[in-house]
């Protein structure tokens, strides 16, 4: 089956080659980072996690969001999702691999990462995150392989796969919950020290992931005539609408708690993000962009006519994705570090090599997802 991704026309290969070039550029920058250390990035003593970890966090969400198509299909027998579950799972595999890469490039001593396995530390959330993500990767690899093979042979998948798929549902929730625990178990970081972090992560994940899935489905429909029913896309759009609404609601809850209580340690982070602190306003335009896009997306998604028409839906999905990418991929991580425990306000601006490495991982992910979708499209084209 995999070889289907290795045969394609000129445009397919041009696209892959373009992505590969970006990935190579990223690899080159990483080699540079390997030699000079993380000092090459925009990270600092006060903001020790940045783009890499933020991307990791965001893509854990994308990975977890596969559950939004898997759950209705397998627990509620919602047949319409039958043809998209595997796409969601492929997206999950890609995202988990990207997560692993983002963690890897963030390591100060990457050659020692196996220490995490050599000295398993059950009281560290990072250990559990590794377990959760690793397990989720294995689950989805097994599930997609078995399901696609059954689909290709037009046979019923083996019966043992169903419990595995059902297991993958709570597992998906767990990966993002544990990832939230990475942050909200830290006593000194008041921005993250809130029990709503995990639900908020899940809500934003269930909006951003399916939004990306819709965009990918629309693209695959156009380029490879991958057959996906309109109804399936409309239902995913509905999920995005609800999840986005819940996400915005959760953010507003936070805003109320923080600003009504007026505990300075809590207020300062929000102030830094949305208004700037001590003259530092690096993230302010980004955060307002995110907020505006969220509102636009919500409107487009709530109004039935714009939700069901393809161009506006695509626009709404882009808005959701970008809004949440900023919110989670920039604001959440950086916002937690500024101001520092000692009150220092340090702006974080990623450097070019850092962005190239990030782009490289994105490119690798894009190659993977292209390959997976192509394989699926070809297997289904074989049915004719």
């Amino acid at each position: 089956m995999l070889e289907k991704a290795l045969a394609g026309g000129r445009r397919y290969w041009a696209w892959i080659a373009g992505l590969a070039a970006v990935a190579c550029a990223g690899a080159w920058c990483y080699a540079l980072q390997l030699q000079t250390g993380l000092g090459m990035t925009g990270l600092s003593r006060d903001v020790t996690w940045g783009l890499y970890i933020a991307q990791f966090t965001f893509f854990v969400g994308v990975a977890a969001s596969a559950v939004m198509v898997v759950l209705p299909y397998y627990l509620h027998d919602y047949k319409v999702f039958g043809r998209v579950t595997i796409l969601g799972e492929f997206l999950a595999i890609t995202s988990v691999v990207m997560c692993g890469l983002f963690i890897f490039v963030d390591m100060g001593q990457p050659s020692r990462v196996l220490n995490v396995l050599r000295y398993p530390t059950p009281w560290s959330m990072m250990f559990w995150d590794m377990v959760a993500l690793g397990g989720y990767l294995i689950l989805n690899v097994v599930i997609t392989r078995v399901s696609l093979e059954a689909e290709r042979n037009d046979t019923a998948p083996p019966r043992w796969i169903r419990p595995v798929i059902v297991l993958s549902i709570p597992w998906a929730i767990s990966i993002h919950t544990v990832t939230a625990f990475l942050y909200n178990g830290l006593p000194g970081r008041s921005f993250w020290l809130t029990a709503i972090l995990a639900p908020r992560f899940l809500a934003s994940a269930f909006a951003a992931g399916p939004a990306l899935l819709i965009l990918l489905c629309l693209a695959a429909r156009r380029w490879w005539s991958l057959r996906i029913a309109d109804e399936a896309i409309r239902k995913i759009a509905l999920i995005v609408a609800y999840a986005m609404a819940v996400h915005v609601f959760f953010v507003l809850l936070e805003v109320f708690t923080v600003f009504y209580s007026q505990v300075p340690e809590h207020v300062d982070h929000f102030r830094y993000l949305y208004a700037g602190l001590d003259g530092h306003t690096a993230l302010v335009p980004w955060m307002w962009t995110s907020a505006c896009l969220a509102v636009v997306a919500l409107v487009l998604l709530i109004v039935p006519s714009t939700r069901t028409s393809e161009p506006t839906l695509a626009g709404a999905c882009v808005a959701v994705f970008v809004s949440l990418w900023i919110d989670k991929g920039l604001g959440l991580v950086v916002g937690g570090f500024v101001p520092s425990p000692l009150g220092a306000v340090t702006d974080y601006v990623p450097t070019w090599p850092e962005m190239m490495i990030t782009a490289g991982v994105w490119a690798l992910g894009a190659i993977m997802v292209t390959g997976f979708f192509k394989v699926t499209a070809e297997v289904r084209a074989g049915e004719r």
Binding site: S44, T48, D106, M107, Q109, T121, S124, G185, G188
Partner: protein, 246 residues
């Protein structure tokens, strides 16, 4: 796990190599673990020595701590912070004039309940029986989770190779390689030799008190019992073991 037992286990692990040549690895008795080291800073005494950096220099020299000019990549074990920031005082005007706008020494609190230790995925940082929060630089993978977890900003990460930034290099103590986290180790290498921490020894005004909290007769116990002291962010439950005697 006691040090003795750990030592024995490791012995067994290397038995094959050792047995091959008949080399026996000796195993000395571990340091006494019945102590609880702590530090008390007499803030007033410290402030009397205005602009004094004796403790900082002594520490940084003894431990090959680099002087990196770029604030973003700074590595520091002990340094001074404004009083109001250190103790999160909202309104500086209400602080007594003696402390207002002044700087106090900060360094690793060697917490009794250290969040940094809790989060480390490789047990590269841990709390020793004597209370020292130690780092095994050989095991650190540089994930910086501990840096995020420390509510006091006590940990530094080697963003760049520290060696070019060393003013003096001593071979008594290793430098660090880039990509690992470091912080004050309470001079555990000196404690092992029965010496007090370098900063304590270097302080010309006797502003830093170091001692064993489990020893009721120790000077630090007596001082803390006699005078009012505060700790940084006690509300976080980390139970810092650096006391600021006001």
């Amino acid at each position: 796990m006691s040090a003795t037992r750990r030592c024995f286990l490791r012995m067994a692990g290397s038995a094959a190599a050792a047995a091959a040549t008949g080399a026996a690895l000796g195993c000395a008795s571990p340091a006494a673990a019945t102590r609880r080291w702590a530090m008390a800073i007499d803030v007033r005494k410290c402030l009397e020595l205005d602009g004094c950096r004796a403790c900082i220099d002594a520490c940084h020299q003894a431990h090959n701590v680099p002087a990196i000019p770029d604030r973003a990549h700074e590595v520091k074990w002990i340094w001074k912070e404004p009083f109001e920031r250190t103790f999160a005082i909202e309104d500086p005007d209400t602080v007594t004039a003696a402390l207002r706008g002044r700087e106090v020494l900060v360094f690793c609190n060697h917490c009794d309940n250290p969040p940094c230790v809790r989060v480390c995925p490789t047990q590269a940082t841990w709390k020793r029986d004597d209370g020292v929060v130690a780092i095994d630089e050989h095991r650190c993978i540089g994930c910086r989770y501990c840096v995020a977890a420390c509510p006091y900003g006590s940990r530094s990460f080697n963003f760049v190779d520290p060696r070019p930034f060393l003013v003096h290099t001593t071979s008594e103590y290793p430098t660090r390689t880039r990509g690992v986290v470091e912080k004050c180790n309470l001079c555990e290498e000196r404690l092992a030799k029965g010496q007090p921490p370098a900063c304590v020894r270097a302080c010309p005004g006797g502003a830093m008190l170091f001692g064993d909290l489990r020893d009721p007769d120790s000077e630090i116990r007596k001082t803390l019992a006699a005078r009012y002291s505060i700790r940084r962010k006690p509300e976080l439950g980390t139970r810092p073991q650096v006391y600021y005697v006001i």
